[in-house]
Point group: none
Chain length 400, copies 2
């Protein structure tokens, strides 16, 4: 999608758009029944939306490419995921609700075990408890660096986040993780001339951390990977002229939305929490991104029946959502997570859009087969926002 | 579409191609019957063409983007409407049959009312009669400018066209319309160094016009907008190797075709006028663009039944068209104008192509649903000409 063209045709109005993302929505047939999770679930309200609306299958990155959660969501928000990339360190920061700023460089850290010769013998330090990780991070946080502020935050088990904040920092840095055991951690190197100063800061941090961790076997050393500045995203509210809000309980999805410039609204683990937040903030925003995690978790666990139940839970929430009177509702996923596959997959994902201005469309139910027959066919996820804007009357015509 | 590739494979032959554009063709379901205008109309001949031919839905500019008439037609002629843009002033000129040349800069004018302090109090001068507009234009036409020829032509009510003709003129000029009342008209400014001389000419025109209009309250001043040179279009007959003709009664559509290098043939308000012109000129041209306005007007008026009748009128004209023996017939629209929406819309538009070389295609009737199921799917309007050329045997193979 061409953001300059979008900006050229955007006009303000009072309409409301809801994007409901069921994480890992798409599925594959159960070997016993030959029916997918969506085809198995009893989801009359979603089926009705599909019948009244227009349907298709969205492709987030490209044919055969399995999207991570970052690219999966960014593409639904309209960003070309091949152009706008979120580095690993930035995604880790977002995933623990750390607000990355433009002067920050983030990296993923692992506590590891080294022998007396300094050679890595366990890249994960025996997967220490998160509590221990937190106390080691507190210890490292007191390291002082000349010219940068330092943040060290626990993530889970042996994983943590470091962030350097300062002027002129660069993320063009090599990793210190040798990716195998029996050799020492690598020294960080600048991969561009402008990164020399940052490389020196990281080396200073690593040296001091080595001293402080020496006595904390098995977590007696650390490895750093995925140095990244936050992505420089055009801001969603500016591009689309929308007051945009995110209702997402899990930090990563909330963080992705915040990177795009959306306002994070209160969210809880259940759909009724999301509904309460929607109701409370309905007047204050034009666009609502609502994230539902349960479908993905069930798919990752290979639990076909639980994924079916999660779909039915979402279905039960649809009437309350419609009672708010949205002008455009979109329902889709950020990628497929078929229960039989137990992981993110590359399959294009069911999509529906319902408004009062929908063209005739043959889809009669919300599932892979009907959506494949839908009028939108297989289409890029980055087109979804343009469809929503058009159906919400928020685009004027192009040319006279 | 890649014009260099087209030029590389074009070969001459004797075949005939007809592009019939029903303006604003696409529709939406009637709320009572759930059938669109095309699904409601009795159009056996168009249905037969759809059954024999290949069908799809054309998208003129991009997903969700509502095409104006200019981009809608240019894209059907094969021009990327995001690359080839027609400025407002140029389109106004085309719309009153003014033949813009490469040395011209055109602008839209409004007569307006100013108070004694020179502040705009009515941007439309009370929508004066077109007769008064014409006499004021005649008055202004006698203004002499050093270094440019001046044309001032009435359009309708308070609207008129000015054209400056001369060497080295530029359209990089700011508008004089303040877009609100209570402030004086703006002074025109050059928006690029090469436009300084043109800006001085426009200021001289405005100063003299102010004197001449002073006594003509309420039309005692003017505002200028949308300065534009004619677009620099590769010429359609050269690109496609076709002797190309336009049969369009309304000046804007005829003018668009002329900008693309087509020959304007005589046209009248009715389809029998178009047919007579087709018959008369059948031997002299290879390509005929035939424009039919009635479908759009009915849609804009929100008159579902009238749009249905217009479709049936076009249907009745098809046997006479086929009797001429065209090798390729395409029928489509430049954009949708659903009667329920009462305006141009973004929905992709039914398209059919019939020749003796059509692949199997499931569409059995000419309407939104069947065309959506057609073998062409949703496709860019800029591809239509390549399909026509291929089916007319006018492309040789690419590579050996």
């Amino acid at each position: 999608m061409d953001f300059d063209l979008i900006r050229e045709v955007v006009v303000p109005n009072e309409t409301k758009i809801v994007l409901l993302v069921m994480d890992g929505l798409g599925g594959l047939p159960h070997p016993g029944t030959r029916r997918t999770e969506l085809e198995t679930a009893d989801i009359p309200h979603l089926d009705r939306l599909a019948e009244e609306g227009i349907c298709g299958l969205v492709q987030h990155v490209g044919v055969g490419i399995t999207p991570g959660s970052g690219p999966g969501h960014l593409s639904l928000f309209g960003y070309d995921p091949l152009r706008y990339r979120i580095g690993r360190g930035a995604l880790e920061a977002v995933g623990i609700d750390f607000d990355l700023g433009p002067r920050d460089v983030a990296a993923r850290g692992n506590f590891c075990t080294v022998d007396e010769g300094g050679r890595v013998v366990d890249r994960r330090a025996g997967r220490i408890d998160t509590d221990i990780c937190a106390s080691l991070c507190a210890e490292l946080r007191s390291i002082e660096l000349a010219g940068a502020e330092l943040f060290v935050e626990p993530v889970r088990e042996h994983r943590f986040l470091i962030v350097l904040r300062g002027d002129g920092l660069s993320d063009a840095l090599s990793e210190t993780d040798p990716q195998r055991e029996g050799v020492p951690p690598l020294e960080v190197r600048a991969e561009a001339p402008e990164a020399e100063a940052t490389a020196a800061l990281v080396r200073a941090f690593v040296e001091q951390a080595r001293e402080r961790l020496r006595a904390h076997h098995p977590a007696n050393m650390l490895l750093l990977r995925g140095f990244a500045k936050p992505p420089d995203l055009p801001q969603f509210p500016e591009v689309f002229g929308l007051r945009a809000a995110a209702i997402a309980y899990y930090p990563m999805y909330r963080g992705l939305a915040k990177l795009a410039g959306m306002t994070a609204l209160p969210a809880g683990p259940s759909l009724s929490d999301s509904l309460a937040s929607l109701r409370e903030n309905w007047g204050g925003f034009d666009f609502f991104f609502v994230h539902f995690k349960g479908t993905d978790s069930a798919g990752e666990d290979g639990d076909f029946q639980r994924k079916v139940r999660r779909l039915e839970e979402v279905d039960a929430f649809i009437p309350d959502l419609l009672a708010l009177g949205p002008d455009v509702v979109m329902v889709t996923g950020d990628h497929a997570t078929p229960s039989t596959y137990r992981a993110h997959s590359w399959h294009p994902v069911p999509f529906l859009l319902r408004s009062r201005w929908c063209q005739p469309d043959p889809a009669r139910a919300f599932n892979e087969s009907d959506c494949q027959q839908g009028s939108l066919g297989v289409f890029p996820a980055t087109d979804a926002m343009a469809l929503a804007m058009a159906h919400a009357g928020r685009f004027t015509k192009y040319g006279a």
